[in-house]
């Protein structure tokens, strides 16, 4: 093996805060990157993978402290000892970086051409004319159609995938030898993600560059990486070549990460979680019993949507209006005690559908039959009593819990609104029982949401909905913001609750493996319309439409 391009040794990063103990984000890690290698840094949130990546370009915040024996060498040069001037020559030219959210990484007031020109002229000392020509070449290279016109576009005029392509164009503008990509596809749809990954692979071959790929998704790693570094809590748990790591994962955490993600080809009764592997070490009882999912003609219908429609009218001028279709003619049946999964890419109208069902948005047309009543025709008083029976859990548990309420106040509120329970004492007991049911201690009631982790908060959000003992629970991307290991725990909890209370779920997600795992019936949406609806096993085994096939093919790691 030739000399490594990047050599990181004993890297230790601490964050110091006034009047606080220093927090060690990265704990004595070492790894190397060979030229043209794709190395993947994998880990859940808080594993220190992004901090490691930003430390290479010395972009860490001022509160960060590196230990004295930390060493980062790039091509034989010690990056940590470089003067600011020398460092600037490396940043963007030798090593460049692509960030997660392309929208916030692009400057909204400059055209993409201007932004590309800037780095070209700065690093390559090109003339204005040369830079403009090169910018168009670059856009062409990253697969932007009609680059001569697109060069004059602003960031908001491009789609998310196109924005990320522009970011990549900027990153490869100076032909760097190392590209650091920090979760570059996490904010993108699954089909777009596949295109971006293909692009990265192709560019690596063209430019002979190494790529450091930071991600939480082992499936992605399987598709692209040469070498994998698994991180947890600031430490490297395991590093190996991709083939070896996937064939023989040594560390329990690696094995846990692989197992917690729902697989397309099996549906265990419950998903294994990290603690199974860490505590139990080897003997993991991944139950062989498979959970049966699917609908039967004898199932009772609990909720039925007919021709649901939603238009938004946009004011385009003084008198002109434009009609924007969000949901067009959506019909489905939800069976009692079963799960209806709704999948689709962003903008497909799946979340809008959820808001329409909850009457959080007024529908433009259609019917939602709940029992014998049409939900969309209820007056305010009838709606209030109906709210007891249908509830919703939102995607982001950080945003959906009021930060100024204690957990106790959060859980008691629905009871107060609906006059359930005679005394506060009685309500408190109900809340405590529910907290224990979702796996939190009853002492949690005195605490505020910010004291809990993402997974715990989502449990609280679920508990709050269940306080009303609803029949239908809509889960709008309810596990999407969670780490895979936490996601497995919440999915297990949801299945247990479904068995216990006979809940019917509408499970909305962009993650096709998760939907496959938890759903009986799956509905595929595209641009506000239902593309396909079938029992989940059937749909994944033999998709009937081109769009579904495209979606399924884009699932990473299959």
């Amino acid at each position: 093996m030739n000399a490594p391009l990047l050599n990181v040794e004993h890297l230790q990063i601490q964050f110091v805060k006034k009047n606080h103990d220093a927090i060690t984000a990265v704990h004595d890690i070492s790894f190397t990157v060979a030229p043209q290698q794709i190395i993947a840094l994998v880990g859940e949130s808080g594993s220190g993978k992004s901090v490691t990546a930003t430390s290479i370009l010395r972009l860490l915040p001022r509160t960060a402290r590196l230990s004295a024996n930390s060493k980062i060498e790039f091509d034989g040069k010690n990056l940590l000892a470089l003067e600011a001037e020398q460092l600037r020559a490396i940043r963007g030219k030798e090593i460049s970086m692509v960030f997660q959210d392309p929208m916030s990484s692009l400057n909204p007031v400059f055209t993409i051409g201007q932004q590309l020109n800037e780095s070209l002229r700065l690093h390559l000392k090109l003339s204005k004319r040369q830079a403009s020509v090169r910018a168009i070449e670059l856009l062409n290279e990253v697969g932007i159609t009609n680059p001569t016109a697109r060069v004059h576009s602003y960031a908001h005029q491009l789609s998310g995938g196109q924005q990320q392509r522009v970011m990549i164009a900027m990153a490869i503008a100076c032909k760097p030898r190392l590209l650091i990509a920090d979760e570059p596809t996490t904010a993108l749809d699954v089909t777009v993600q596949k295109q971006i990954l293909d692009l990265l692979m192709q560019l690596r071959a063209q430019h002979n560059m190494a790529i450091m790929f930071i991600t939480h998704d082992l499936g992605l790693v399987h598709d692209i990486a040469d070498r994998v570094v698994v991180m947890q809590q600031g430490e490297i748990r395991e590093q190996n070549s991709k083939a070896a790591l996937f064939a023989h994962p040594v560390h329990a955490y690696t094995r846990a990460l692989m197992a917690c993600r729902p697989q397309l080809d099996s549906r265990p009764m419950r998903l294994p979680v990290v603690s199974d592997f860490i505590d139990g070490q080897q003997q993991v009882n991944v139950s062989e019993v498979q959970r049966q999912r699917g609908s039967a003609p004898t199932d009772n219908i609990v909720l039925e949507a007919h021709g649901l429609q939603k238009y938004f009218t946009l004011k385009t001028g003084w008198f002109e209006q434009e009609k924007l279709t969000a949901v067009e003619d959506v019909s489905f049946r939800l069976f009692r005690g079963k799960t209806l999964g709704i999948v689709g890419e962003s903008g497909s109208g799946k979340s809008t559908t959820a808001l329409l069902l909850m009457r959080l948005l007024p529908a433009s047309g259609g019917k939602v039959l709940f029992g014998s009543r049409d939900l969309l025709q209820l007056n305010d008083a009838e709606l209030l009593s109906m709210r007891r029976r249908i509830q919703i859990v939102f995607q982001n548990p950080y945003a959906s819990l009021n930060a100024r309420f204690t957990i106790g106040q959060l859980l008691l509120e629905p009871l107060r609104i609906h006059h359930i329970g005679a005394t506060t004492q009685e309500r408190l007991q109900m809340a405590a029982a529910m907290l224990e049911r979702v796996g939190l201690p009853k002492e949690a009631m005195q605490r505020y949401p910010h004291e809990f982790s993402g997974g715990q908060r989502q449990r609280i959000a679920i508990a709050r909905c269940l306080m009303l003992q609803p029949e239908v629970l809509i889960l709008d991307e309810a596990v999407s913001a969670l780490d895979v290991s936490v996601q497995a725990q919440v999915l297990n909890l949801l299945q247990d609750l479904q068995n216990e209370f006979g809940l019917s779920y509408i499970f909305i997600s962009h993650d096709l493996s998760v939907v496959k795992y938890i759903s009986d019936v799956v509905l595929v949406m595209q641009q506000g319309r239902v593309v396909e609806m079938a029992d989940s096993d059937q749909l994944y085994a033999s998709p009937q439409t081109e769009y579904t096939r495209k979606l399924l093919n884009a699932i990473p790691g299959r």
Binding site: M358, R387, Y448
Partner: protein, 350 residues
């Protein structure tokens, strides 16, 4: 569930660190903020003591010669004599010596009248830290007494402005639509009238007095808090936690004031302390224009109004006393406001 029987209502008590407590913790670490808080507290204590008559109750007494310079010792030993009335109105019968001296009848009368004049000897103050004004009033006492009106006008007018602004902003931002449009029109018309003109118009209608000043300042300065609160409500009413509350069946009032209001209270608090500063300054302007408090009261504004002729003849004490205390208080409140914003801004949380 046997163990839940031991639960009591205190499970929902705010026992653990809420956001307010966290904000207070952050504020406590900020030395500038604590210094400012101390200054503000000192002024507040001073004002309350003055209101209760513990200090500066004789601000109106003449305790020194006109424009006495500042000193820590008695200016002079000469007592100041002041005629307060006739001491002994029942005098004896006059003796007639009018044949000798035509003016004789008058002598007796004059003598008696002179004797009957009662004197009250007011002692000069032993120390005048800030000197005396034109009428020999102690400027220190006057400034302390003046703080009463100035600070309470600041606090009350700012409170009124924030309440009015928040109510209108909450309604407009939360409901949107026609209601919001109407409020925006009203706001635009209101702000198109020059501020001073508005104040003059309101002052012309009401009689001069403390309450009038509070009303004038409160009802003319709600506009910026209205805009801010409206924007916050527009933002927050789309947030997931408000959606979740709606899904649970919470009413509009509950969502507006129970859910959203605590989450934007930092905006109101910061605006409030800004308004206190503005109102203190505006009271000065009003008094300076002669629209402020009645003549038998004193405020920093009225003191500053007096100083306009004094500065020309080289008497600096009053302007330094009133202007200085105002500057110190206003600066302290401003710095406290800055620190409060930093401590309360949820985005800066760790």
């Amino acid at each position: 569930m046997n163990n839940t029987n031991t639960l009591t209502t205190d499970l929902v008590r705010h026992d653990s660190a809420g956001l307010w407590r966290l904000a207070w913790r952050r504020l406590r670490q900020d030395k500038v903020a604590i210094a400012s808080l101390c200054v503000v507290t000192i002024f507040a204590v001073m004002m309350i003591a003055s209101y209760m008559g513990l200090i500066a109750s004789h601000w109106n007494a003449e305790v020194a010669p006109s424009y006495a310079p500042p000193s820590l010792h008695a200016v002079t030993n000469v007592a100041n004599t002041k005629v307060v009335g006739i001491a002994n109105p029942q005098a004896g019968p006059p003796v007639d010596i009018s044949d000798i001296d035509p003016l004789a009848p008058r002598y007796q009368e004059w003598k008696e009248r002179t004797a009957n004049i009662a004197h009250e000897q007011t002692q000069h103050a032993t120390s005048l830290i800030l000197g005396a004004d034109k009428w020999g009033h102690d400027i220190l006492s006057k400034t302390i007494k003046g703080s009463e009106v100035s600070i309470s006008v600041g606090i009350l007018a700012a409170f009124l402005a924030v309440v009015v602004g928040t109510l209108l902003g909450a309604v407009g931002g939360y409901f949107g639509g026609v209601l919001d449009d109407t409020l925006e029109w009203f706001y635009n018309i209101f702000t198109s009238i020059p501020y001073i003109l508005l104040i003059l118009a309101v002052a012309a209608v009401f009689s001069r007095g403390f309450v009038t000043i509070v009303l004038i300042l409160g009802l003319t300065s709600w506009t910026s808090v209205y805009r801010l609160v409206r924007a916050e409500y527009m933002k927050h009413s789309e947030r997931a936690y408000v959606r979740a509350a709606e899904a649970l069946g919470a009413s509009h009032t509950s969502r507006m004031f129970k859910h959203i209001l605590p989450n934007i209270s930092h905006v109101m608090l910061v605006q409030y302390s800004r308004y206190v500063v503005d109102a203190i300054k505006a009271e000065v302007i009003l008094s300076f224009l002669g629209l402020g408090i009645p003549v038998d009261m004193v405020s920093w504004g009225s003191i500053l109004a007096e100083t306009q002729e004094e500065v020309v003849i080289g008497k600096w004490s009053q302007i330094i006393a009133a202007g200085g205390s105002m500057a110190i208080l206003v600066t302290a409140i401003s710095m406290l406001t800055d620190a409060l914003r930093d401590a309360l801004d949820p985005k800066l949380n760790e």
